[in-house]
């Protein structure tokens, strides 16, 4: 049950904070308090409170990362004060890689061209304006026309530079994607993800709920 903040036991609170830290660490896009709240069976307002608390803690402890609220969700990012180091890391080149998200955006344009920004966004499920601008700026994609439809949206395609960088003669040389059918593992994951009460979750939630029970997860010692 969602509880008001003052009824939140110390254990539950500590466990919820840990869960927030873990989940936000690995999500690629900012994650909404509502979604986090569903997972933890806590009201979004309480999740917001926990996130603010964590963010303040990181700041106070002088961490090199921050927990910030961006585009309606929470994410980890580097502290602005550390930007010079991140920049140096990026400039080293061979070590910094295009993020999986950016590469996916580029791949969608490559295989679905001509395609509008909105269409790419709808496939990726997030706003792609920033990445698309960067890719365009770097000369990997370019405007190739306009949608004849009502909005007359700009349509994008890949450039010669893109082909050269990949060592391809033409777009035809892109590896064929075939009749893409998700593998059995993917389907299973999807089912797992969509199943209303998968075991691990209810287990962990019940652990969250009865605070007195013996708690065995390694993260619990503190």
């Amino acid at each position: 049950m969602a509880r008001p903040a003052d009824q939140l036991g110390d254990d539950v609170r500590a466990e919820a904070r840990r869960a927030v830290e873990a989940v936000v660490l690995v999500t690629e896009e900012p994650i909404e308090a509502g979604l986090l709240g569903q997972l933890l069976e806590l009201r979004p307002a309480i999740v917001e409170e926990l996130c603010l608390e964590l963010a303040a803690e990181y700041e106070e402890q002088g961490r090199g990362f921050q927990l910030v609220r961006v585009a309606g969700g929470w994410r980890f990012q580097t502290h602005p004060g550390q930007a010079p180091y991140v920049e140096r890391f990026v400039l080293e080149g061979q070590h910094a890689k295009l993020s999986a998200a950016a590469l996916e955006t580029l791949a969608i344009v490559a295989y679905k061209q001509p395609i509008s920004r909105a269409q790419v966004a709808s496939i990726r499920g997030v706003n792609v304006d920033g990445v698309m601008r960067t890719l365009q700026h770097r000369g990997y994609i370019t405007e190739v026309g306009r949608d004849p439809g009502p909005g007359q949206a700009n349509l994008f395609g890949t450039t010669r530079t893109f082909l050269e960088q990949l060592g391809l003669d033409s777009l035809d040389a892109l590896p064929p994607i075939g009749d893409f059918v998700p593998g059995a593992d993917v389907v299973e994951q999807l089912e797992h993800g969509l199943r209303p009460d998968a075991e691990p979750l209810s287990d962990s939630l019940s652990r969250l709920e009865d605070t007195d029970t013996e708690r065995t997860a390694p993260g619990d010692e503190s």
């Binding site: 080149g93 950016a102 709808s122 439809g149």
Partner: protein, 266 residues
């Protein structure tokens, strides 16, 4: 495909032999070569299709076993050729060595699995560099090849799983087809061509998806959208036919009487 697909129990001749010798964890000296040979031959007979390469390995071991068995059955005579005798022992030692090796790696495999299982409980952060730093990269595609682009595309096209969490404890959700139609009329003109999957990818509740589906059907009935579905169970394509969102809202009001019956409590 190698035969192991057909016989999931035994992963090759050594596996079978190990099993036959070690299956009975009883008195050491109960192990009988006769039983092993018989068991081995029986399993061999049971395998219907064998790859030539695999079969020859099985047969080689079977032959060695039979030879060992025959030695055991015959009283040792003085007339035996010493070279022959040595050859048999050599064969046996080789087989023994290979069995021990096979057993060793079987155990090692279990250890690796345990390690992987433990490591699998943690997930590395692979979010990468913030978009705001992308502009600095000397070459975005350094080290990226066409195959990687293909994989990224396939990854992007996999329908995104939506964490599905029991929402009963949260405030009850009231969804109506009317609300869904109003949303769609605002959304669709902006999207141009879209798919039902995309329209509903952010929805958590199955009921919400159902309601959106009914709403889309309503709009289709009214001639405000075109629908197509090239393949059975494939994506349903949706194209807005109305002039623009704002103008159609009035029309939606007239839909309301059709739709209000469908108000649900979540």
């Amino acid at each position: 495909m190698p035969y192991e697909v057909q016989t999931p129990v035994f992963e090759g001749p050594f596996d079978l032999l190990l099993h036959l010798i070690l299956q009975e964890q009883v008195d050491l000296y109960e192990v009988s070569l006769a039983a092993i040979v018989d068991g081995y031959l029986r399993e061999l007979g049971r395998m219907e299709q064998l790859e030539l390469e695999v079969a020859s390995e099985f047969l080689l071991i079977a032959a060695t076993l039979v030879e060992l068995k025959s030695r055991r059955l015959l009283p040792v005579g003085d007339d035996l050729d010493l070279d022959e005798e040595l050859a048999v022992w050599e064969e046996r030692d080789l087989l023994l060595h290979r069995l021990v090796e096979c057993k060793t790696f079987k155990e090692a495999a279990i250890a690796l699995q345990v390690l992987a299982g433990e490591a699998g409980r943690s997930r590395p952060r692979v979010v990468g560099v913030d978009d705001r730093f992308l502009g600095l990269m000397p070459d975005l595609l350094e080290g990226v090849d066409a195959e990687e682009v293909r994989r990224a595309f396939l990854r992007a096209m996999v329908p995104r799983p939506v964490p599905r969490i029991d929402l009963e404890h949260v405030a009850p959700i009231r969804i109506s087809v009317t609300d869904a139609i109003t949303e769609l009329v605002e959304e669709l003109p902006r999207l141009g061509r879209t798919t039902f999957r995309d329209l509903t990818s952010h929805l958590v509740e199955r009921l919400q998806v159902v309601v959106r589906f009914l709403a889309v059907l309503e709009l289709f009935k009214k001639g405000l959208v075109d629908l197509d579905q090239p393949r059975t169970f494939g994506d349903i394509g949706i194209v807005w036919r109305g002039e623009d969102g704002a103008r159609e809202v009035g029309e939606v009001d007239s839909l309301e009487d059709l739709a209000t019956v469908d108000a649900y409590d979540g």
